[in-house]
Symmetry: C2
Subunit: 459 residues, 2 copies
């Protein structure tokens, strides 16, 4: 305990009283779970079906409806005790046809993708000169030049957290200075002429102008043409539009608990995806991992004390409407949710878990995950759990984020046409199923539920 | 000389008699050249102009005509003694509009690119079921299934030399068994949803069917759908067509020799490119390197004994019509060409030179390149020189291929929309200018011309 603070020591002592040691039958079960997961291809085959046969699943779209039907049938076949859907009302966004080209000083096509929730251009398109800037600060300095222009944000990549700001609020920043459209350099560090989409947002008080991402290659060329004083002109035609409210669904499946079926360990992922690739890592992988993890317990005849519930959420990509709907539908049962684990970081090498909740919960998850050290999943830190489980976690449910480490590759694929099944390593996927199944079993079997903050609101 | 064979020792002795030591003024010049190249951005700026302002330069196209005009003006401004064009007659190929989609069992767009010289589909397009095969052997085994199908070749990447066979002769292999079109997995090992084009060829005795490359991602998905027995159907609409003979040009520029201006050290690269990217590495880089290398000698006032001639060839990508035209126009002057160096391996880290010609020429180039060891360019091996200089090398001119090492990255960009200026490292480009300029000076200054094979035909 060298280096632990006095409160940490106190917590550890409290935990020692609280906790059951992870030995005996539970440790034995972990071994059975891990072994079975590592020789099983159900999750890989299932993810292949989702990606290849169903394909992209934009929130609220007909393809998402097909994915929901597929998920219900797949979960029922897998032997869950009950499978059902829960309504989620969302404003559907339709991409429509889209094209763009530079028309002067030299003509070339732009590889582009409208950003989610963007408005479209007039049906005939629009044409304007480009003002390329590096960042918000340069736009502010050159505000007078933005009027009636297409503003291009082309900031060199310094990580997702920094670059995503232009996707999120670039359009309104440009509209504030009179721009007619906004282009951003795709939010990624590597490109082979690959556009990356993602959701954006408008400031209510400003005009809504169309927004699209272009490739790193095209953004750089436009920026350099501007720097040479050659004043490039761009034509855009974007058919993007909101298509009214539709009722879609979350998919829910229970593996009923042996002793305390009313207590729930939730395993969540989002079934919706962007529409350029097939959502293999984002988040088909998470769906396959949580479905495969719960199914594995069933296959092994390991029915834990508590219910293990799989939830495949709708509309994570547009802000988490599925997670909100789940919270609303289950507001009276928050106290019965012992933990909510979310898998939304792809199927790369397992890298442990992050826990949002009471400090004792972090320590207990660390104990439960300790046997997973050889699988790379014993690192448990305090941190976010995920967008989908966010509403119930904010309401008091201990949240657990399943983490993987892509070594930087994830952002090469993220929200792009390259997020496809060929990018999935079946061995890494199996390891993720193993660690999620093992932790889910441990959480659902633990004699004591995960500690919660005493001040957490319980609805 | 440990390990050298008797003939090799004999050659070395012969060479020792033949050669002047590379010391004194020549070595001093090398230092001046290298130093100047490494602090100069002319080649980088020039390549940026070519890629960004001119852009793609498909052989025989209006953009290639613009590139030729640009090259003549740029070379004249750079101070060459004479700059001119030489006619090259080529059959122009036009890509036209192109699109493809899978229509069953699930609809999704195909990212595709017609292969160079491919015929198009009927104007309304064509639709057929896909037969996905791994390789030629599987196609032969399943020949009966190819009738009226679109054959997809989807062999896993094992290097360019192996995969390019499907691009080159896949269409005729499929047509032989009654297929209506041919798709190939793009010839690359890495993809972020990136199509790669390139030239193909038809067997005269077989029907000419349209041929296109699709991305690794789409090829894999189609193949897996076939393997699941889901019989995917694809619609293709390719506007590709031959557009008759046009007269285009090679661009030639001389830096006249001090003592023996009639003797020529030729530095070549090809000005044409594919039309998806901007031909930055292939072969804008080579153009910038050979232009920059010769210009550097001029800037430094280093006028060597012999003439240094820059040739920017037309139509390397469609088989080397520019190189053939140069040979035809200069057939009477082959004996006066002392060496023909070609730079067509991108602007990655210098990796030496390959020499095609007499063994004494290999040894002499190795001596001349020895001072370039610290720049990574002292490795001189026996090997090919390049497509453009091929005709004059086959006629007896010692050929030298400028080599770079991309660590495998080149094939990620090659013939794809990702071959763009942002992929050029200015420091690596400068090092390539340095080593080509230094070797060109050494070749043009060497008291004796490079040894030739005694049996080489001299026209």
């Amino acid at each position: 305990m060298r280096g632990m603070s006095v409160p940490a020591v106190a917590l550890a002592v409290a935990l020692a009283v609280l906790a059951m040691p992870v030995t005996g039958p539970a440790a034995c079960a972990t071994g059975r779970i891990v072994g079975a997961a590592l020789v099983d291809d159900w999750a890989y085959d299932t993810l292949g079906e989702l990606c290849d046969r169903i394909g992209q699943r934009l929130a609220g779209s007909p393809r998402m409806a097909a994915a929901i039907d597929w998920a219900v049938a797949t979960l029922a076949r897998a032997g869950f005790d009950s499978v059902w859907t829960e309504a989620v009302t969302i404003t559907r966004w339709v991409r429509g046809e889209e094209e763009g080209q530079v028309v002067a000083p030299v003509a070339f096509p732009l590889r582009l993708t409208a950003l989610g929730t963007s408005v479209g251009t007039p049906a005939a398109g629009l044409e304007a000169e480009v003002l390329a800037v590096r960042d918000f600060a340069e736009l502010d300095e050159r505000a007078g030049e933005a009027v009636r222009r297409i503003v291009l944000f082309d900031e060199p990549w310094e990580g997702y957290g920094k670059s995503v700001r232009y996707r999120w609020r670039g359009a309104s920043a440009a509209a504030r200075h009179g721009a007619v459209a906004c282009l951003i350099r795709s939010v990624t560090g590597n490109s082979l002429a690959t556009p990356h989409t993602g959701v954006m947002s408008y400031v209510d008080s400003l005009p809504r102008i169309p927004a699209a991402a272009i490739t790193i290659e095209d953004a750089g060329r436009l920026h350099r043409l501007c720097d040479r004083g050659l004043r490039p002109r761009v034509q855009l035609r974007l058919g993007a539009h909101a298509a009214g409210e539709v009722t879609s669904a979350n998919v829910v499946a229970d593996l009923r608990g042996r002793e305390r079926p009313q207590e729930i360990v939730l395993l969540g992922a989002h079934l919706d995806s962007w529409d350029l690739g097939t959502g293999a890592h984002d988040d088909g992988a998470g769906c396959a991992i949580v479905m495969g993890a719960a199914r594995l317990l069933h296959e092994l005849g390991l029915r834990p004390r508590r219910t293990v519930r799989v939830v495949l959420f709708e509309s994570e990509e547009f802000g988490g409407q599925g997670g909100e709907a789940y919270h609303e539908a289950h507001a009276g049962e928050i106290a019965r949710h012992v933990a909510a684990l979310e898998s939304d970081s792809g199927a790369f090498a397992p890298d442990g878990f992050s826990v949002r909740g009471d400090s004792l919960a972090v320590l207990r998850v660390r104990e439960l995950a300790a046997p997973l050290a050889h699988l790379g999943a014993a690192a448990v830190v305090s941190g976010g759990a995920g967008v989908d489980v966010g509403p119930i976690v904010r309401a008091g449910v201990p949240g657990i984020g399943h983490r993987t480490d892509s070594g930087g590759r994830y952002m090469d694929y993220h929200h792009s046409p390259a997020d496809t099944f060929d990018k999935i390593d079946p061995a890494e996927l199996a390891r993720n199923v193993a660690v999620v199944a093992a932790l889910a079993f441990a959480l659902a079997e633990d004699p004591q539920p995960l500690p919660r903050r005493s001040e957490d609101p319980v609805q």
